[in-house]
């Protein structure tokens, strides 16, 4: 019986590792850093930048709204399809920082470094991937 409990746990882990995905939480494939990154190509870093009503532009960290960089990346397709969703990030920031000026622009920016043979060439790009601005704001 108790051995059964252990085996069920093990079976759950192995099954989701073989066929499942993150959706089957808590039994998830342990895929931290499992994706291959070509030694030649571009390495990307995502970040969120906000602009407030006073025109100040700043980058926010994971704790500022609770939405982590990894979560921004995880939902990037959604944000691309519907940039209006970024208004929710502005809303969350406003709720978390009640005293501060209103957020009028939210940008997902991706900085990329070129790699050749695993070494940075110094070539970098920094693009606005998705942006949202409050209507009427610049």
């Amino acid at each position: 019986m108790r051995i059964g409990g252990t085996l069920v746990m093990l079976a759950g882990l192995i099954a989701t590792s073989l066929w499942g995905g993150d959706d089957y939480f808590p039994f998830v494939p342990f895929k931290m850093y499992s994706f291959t990154h070509e030694a030649d190509g571009w390495a990307h870093i995502t970040r969120l930048e906000l602009v407030n009503a006073e025109g100040e532009r700043f980058e926010i960290d994971d704790e500022a709204t609770g939405l982590r960089k990894a979560e921004v990346e995880g939902q990037l397709t959604r944000f691309r399809e519907d940039p209006e969703l970024l208004a929710l990030v502005a809303e969350a920031y406003g709720d978390a920082h009640p005293g501060e000026p209103e957020i009028v622009t939210v940008e997902i920016r991706i900085k990329s470094y070129e790699l050749v043979d695993g070494i940075r060439t110094g070539e970098e790009t920094d693009v606005v991937e998705v942006a949202w601005s409050k209507e009427g704001a610049a």
């Binding site: 990346e73 995880g74 809303e91």
Partner: protein
């Protein structure tokens, strides 16, 4: 496998039916092996120590390790991306009050559990609250993978005897042994199956790819940034990592040779220190769960407090309370 086990059956019978008789002789040794693997009794002192460590982690996590989880209370429901379990079970989308309530219940239940007051009751409350906490953590587009062993630990602790006392090396429990064995298997799976995931998602090319370069560009520190100029070191490290992870199940089968097992576990902790120095990823809950490999029943907080007092003569006011967080290290050096 056939052990010289004394059989109560008459010899004549075994001559006529050699097959089943041989099987009968093998079965006890097999079941002894299985029982030894799953149910090697563990002293209750370790249960008390692990309950305490689990509570310590709960109290550390929300502010020192994953402060963004509680920040999820500000996120509008439209950013919530429920996992399968959140879609099947009637679990509401987190909002401000759900997150705050879960948080308070979790911290409140951890206290009595960690000090051994009604540890099963509060253990179950804690387990449920922590599970919901994990759903809040992982339901916004990214699932992390460091917490599995810790969740198994919380669950296993609920099923262990209530009467566990610190430093109790006498009272043995098969149930505790079984529970910790399950946690240990979960811990090892975290390593072993992650190699499988690397092959599955990254392909066999993973070990030759630029994944560590990428990781260091994103999260590098002064200890690792210099390596970017030496990609061959990183490739070697990737191969090393694969070998290390594939070999981790060995630790489960060394339970009869404690010194070897402790040495392997010490190596695991060193591995995580190196990873933390390089890319500031600590797998902290995993490290707490892994402590159940160690003979924490040998830790007697009173004796430790006395020792610590002698060392810190200048600061006399340290109360002779529960053991320090250095328990594991203390034990290792005294083992």
């Amino acid at each position: 496998m056939s052990a010289p086990h004394p059989s109560p059956r008459p010899a004549a019978r075994s001559a006529r039916f050699p097959g089943p008789e041989a099987l009968r002789a093998t079965l006890p040794s097999l079941s002894r092996g299985v029982n030894g693997f799953f149910f090697t009794p563990v002293a209750l002192g370790r249960v008390a120590a692990m309950r305490f460590l689990a509570g310590v982690y709960i109290w550390l996590e929300w502010w020192a390790y994953k402060p963004f989880i509680i920040q999820h209370r500000f996120l509008p429901e439209d950013l919530y991306q429920p996992l399968l379990i959140g879609r099947i079970l009637p679990i509401p989308a987190p909002n401000y009050w759900i997150v705050v309530t879960t948080f308070v219940v979790m911290l409140a239940a951890a206290l009595p559990m960690m000090f051994g007051y009604r540890p099963k009751l509060f253990g179950w409350i804690l387990f449920v609250a922590y599970f919901e906490w994990m759903l809040i953590y992982n339901s916004y587009g990214k699932v992390d993978h460091a917490n599995f062993g810790f969740m198994v630990l919380l669950l296993a602790l609920c099923m262990m005897p209530s009467k566990a006392k610190w430093g109790d090396r006498e009272t043995l429990s098969e149930r505790a042994g079984w529970g910790f064995n399950m946690v240990q298997i979960a811990v090892v799976c975290t390593y072993f199956l992650s190699t499988w995931a690397k092959f599955r998602y990254g392909g066999f090319e993973w070990a030759n790819s630029g994944v560590f370069t990428w990781a260091i560009i994103r999260r590098g520190t002064i200890f690792s940034d210099w390596m970017l100029d030496f990609p061959w070191i990183l490739i070697a490290a990737q191969w090393g990592m694969i070998c290390f992870e594939l070999l981790t199940p060995i630790v489960l089968f060394t339970y009869k040779w404690k010194r070897i097992q402790y040495a392997i576990i010490a190596f695991f902790y060193c591995f995580h220190i190196a990873v933390f120095a390089g890319i500031t990823i600590s797998f902290l809950p995993h490290l707490f769960a892994m402590a159940c490999f160690l003979p924490l029943e040998r830790v007697d907080p009173k004796a430790l407090a006395r020792k610590a007092k002698a060392k810190l003569k200048g600061r006399k006011d340290i109360p002779p309370q529960r053991g320090s967080h250095e328990d594991a290290r203390e034990v290792e050096s005294s083992a």
